[in-house]
């Protein structure tokens, strides 16, 4: 370890080294472990963890000087080119063999990975009745501290509302678990959580949309600047408290967008927006038909009260910023009709609409007309020159 090289160490890196409890210097092909810092020098450095009475550069240089003078540092790794290659090959061989033999997935080592089931539960319940639902949570990552909480679900907003007070009739009935109490979930461990829902007799007949949220705690801080990661995995609970099971269902198509005239070579793009104007969530169950022949099933996604949602099918596609209900590449010519028909859930309320559009290869026509016009002009000029 040459004194002059150490003295040229970048100032910002010196700060980082100084903060480390066992300072190491990486110079050339060698890594040097510095000797223990004398207690006095630590006190000289400053009063706080991040504050310095002398500059960190000056302090580290002083420590290095002491190390060199007292020969306290020692080399912890030094390798010439041949030895380093042999070492790299040997280490790589051992790691790959180990991974294959033990079937270890490297991603599991330092990852957060939670799995829950089921991800969605829908409950319609009379006040005074009780229902239980079992959830499973599994940890496929490193051991994690997990907390379960109940969060209000608002479409498009996943932030826990500070004003929300969880309903006391939604409870966890496991002996060893409760809301907001952290517990350890080891790697590959699976746990069952039983949720009991029993709205009292006087519970208002309303919709209660909640998320059962499983949250991990971030890892403890290290010696460096860092961002710790925590994950929240939610299962949606849609509870409808009703005495009769009959709630007002109503909806309307707020958008049925289709081009009146399209180019034959363009993909057919159709958009449908459905607004739930009723008091309970609904699912559109039905299909979209093209010319009464090709049919595309509408995915029965939930539309919450007052929500406007783009209807989707297996042929939906995001183009740029927008998701389209139907995106059908092909060649279209002449008059076509698109028809949509669906019911709200399995009920009798049916919504049906149809629209007509025309397809022509007008882009080619335009090009042809321009070419013909250009040719005619050229022919006219030539004719004039000839005359």
């Amino acid at each position: 370890m040459k004194k002059d090289k150490i003295m040229n160490y970048p100032a910002a890196e010196l700060r980082g080294i100084l903060c480390h409890p066992e300072p190491r210097l990486n110079r050339g092909r060698g890594i040097f472990q510095l000797g223990k810092i004398p207690p006095l020098s630590r006190r000289n450095v400053g009063v706080g963890r991040n504050d310095y009475m002398v500059s960190p550069e000056a302090e580290l240089r002083r420590i290095i000087r002491l190390n060199i003078k007292n020969k306290k540092y020692h080399k912890i790794l030094f390798a010439d080119r041949f030895t380093s290659r042999v070492l790299i090959f040997f280490c790589g061989f051992v790691m790959i063999t180990g991974l294959i033999m033990l079937k270890i997935k490297p991603v599991e080592a330092q990852s957060l990975s939670l799995t829950i089931s089921p991800p969605l539960v829908e409950i319609m319940i009379k006040p005074g009745k009780t229902v239980t639902q079992a959830y499973k949570i599994r940890n496929d990552g490193e051991p994690a501290i997990v907390k379960i909480s109940l969060v209000e679900y608002k479409a498009g907003d996943l932030q826990a509302s500070p004003d929300y007070i969880p309903e006391n009739w939604i409870q966890i009935i496991n002996n060893d678990l409760s809301f907001n109490t952290p517990f350890l979930l080891n790697s590959n461990q699976e746990k069952q959580v039983i949720l009991k829902i029993n709205p009292p007799v006087n519970t208002p007949e309303e919709e209660y949309y909640r998320i059962l949220m499983f949250s991990t705690s971030p890892n403890p801080a290290s010696q460096f600047s860092q961002s710790s990661i925590s994950q929240n995995l939610g299962s949606v609970i849609l509870v409808s408290v009703t005495r009769t099971g009959e709630k007002l269902k109503a909806a309307q198509l707020t958008k049925f967008a289709i081009p009146a005239l399209m180019d034959s070579f363009d993909p057919l793009i159709v958009d449908f927006d459905l607004q739930n104007t009723g008091k309970i969530y609904i699912r559109p169950i039905g299909e979209i038909k093209l010319d009464g022949q090709a049919s595309f099933k509408i995915l029965p996604k939930i539309v919450l009260p007052n929500q406007i949602k783009r209807l989707v099918t297996d042929n939906s596609k995001t183009d740029g910023q927008e998701l389209h209900s139907l995106y059908l590449p092909g060649f279209y010519l002449g008059k076509h009709q698109v028809n949509i028909a669906f019911t709200l859930d399995e009920g009798k309320i049916k919504i049906e609409q149809s629209k007509t559009f025309y397809a022509l290869p007008w882009k080619i026509f335009v090009v042809l007309i321009i070419l013909l016009f250009a040719a005619y002009q050229y022919w006219k000029i030539k004719k004039r020159e000839h005359a």
Binding site: T115, P118, E122, E142, F224, S225, I229, L233, G245, P300
Partner: protein, 203 residues
């Protein structure tokens, strides 16, 4: 009571055998199911993030640090999912020194928690932000130089949606690049915060 979907070359059939939903509700006083025709009852919904901690190492002024996170989501039979992200506060030390979130290249028209804009290394623009790459990530991440600041829960900002899908049975991956650039005036210290990723099944 059973239910299910059957299909042949020309027909799709969804059937329910046994009591209807309304008669079941009348007799038992409740009705419980997972998804349309109980289709997601056994579905697994999972989120993986690697690594669990992002160390930025020693911070050097005017030398941007970039670190990556791998996000993987699997949604089973649930139609779609959404993932949002937020930070608990700006990167800060115990002595309350902070590194501000990035505003990207244009200070008069800054990038926001919902709108990524270009953030180049040159030009001495400091801060902390993220870029995303993947099939289902928000479309404003046009290329690798587009960044957003994190939504700050300390400022009562709502988590910002970063990945979304409407499809069933997908396993989507995204790479999040965290970028940190500090000024020469930045106070020395260990800057820390927590990034929270929230995934909820599509409904």
């Amino acid at each position: 009571m059973t239910s299910g979907n059957k299909a042949s070359q020309n027909f799709n059939l969804s059937d329910v055998v046994g009591q209807t939903a309304s008669s079941l509700f009348s007799s038992k006083g409740y009705l419980i199911q997972s998804g349309f025709l109980n289709s997601v009852a056994g579905s697994l919904f999972s989120l993986s993030i690697y690594p669990a901690v992002v160390d930025f190492g020693t911070l050097i002024p005017n030398s941007p640090v970039e670190k990556t996170l791998q996000i993987t989501i699997s949604n089973g039979d649930v139609p779609g999912y959404s993932i949002s992200v937020a930070e608990d506060h700006e990167l800060s030390t115990l002595a309350q020194a902070t590194i501000a979130n990035t505003s990207c290249n244009l200070t008069n028209q800054p990038c926001t928690i919902n709108k990524a804009l270009r953030w180049d290394d040159a030009g001495g623009i400091y801060g902390f932000g993220f870029n995303l790459a993947g099939n289902s990530v928000a479309r404003d991440f046009t290329d690798k130089s587009f960044y957003r600041p994190f939504a700050n829960l300390n400022l009562k900002e709502s988590p910002a949606q970063i990945m979304v899908s409407q499809q069933k049975r997908v396993i989507d991956q995204a790479i999040m690049t965290l970028k940190l650039n500090i000024s020469p005036e930045q106070a020395v210290g260990q800057y820390r915060n927590t990034l929270s990723f929230t995934a909820v099944a599509g409904i």
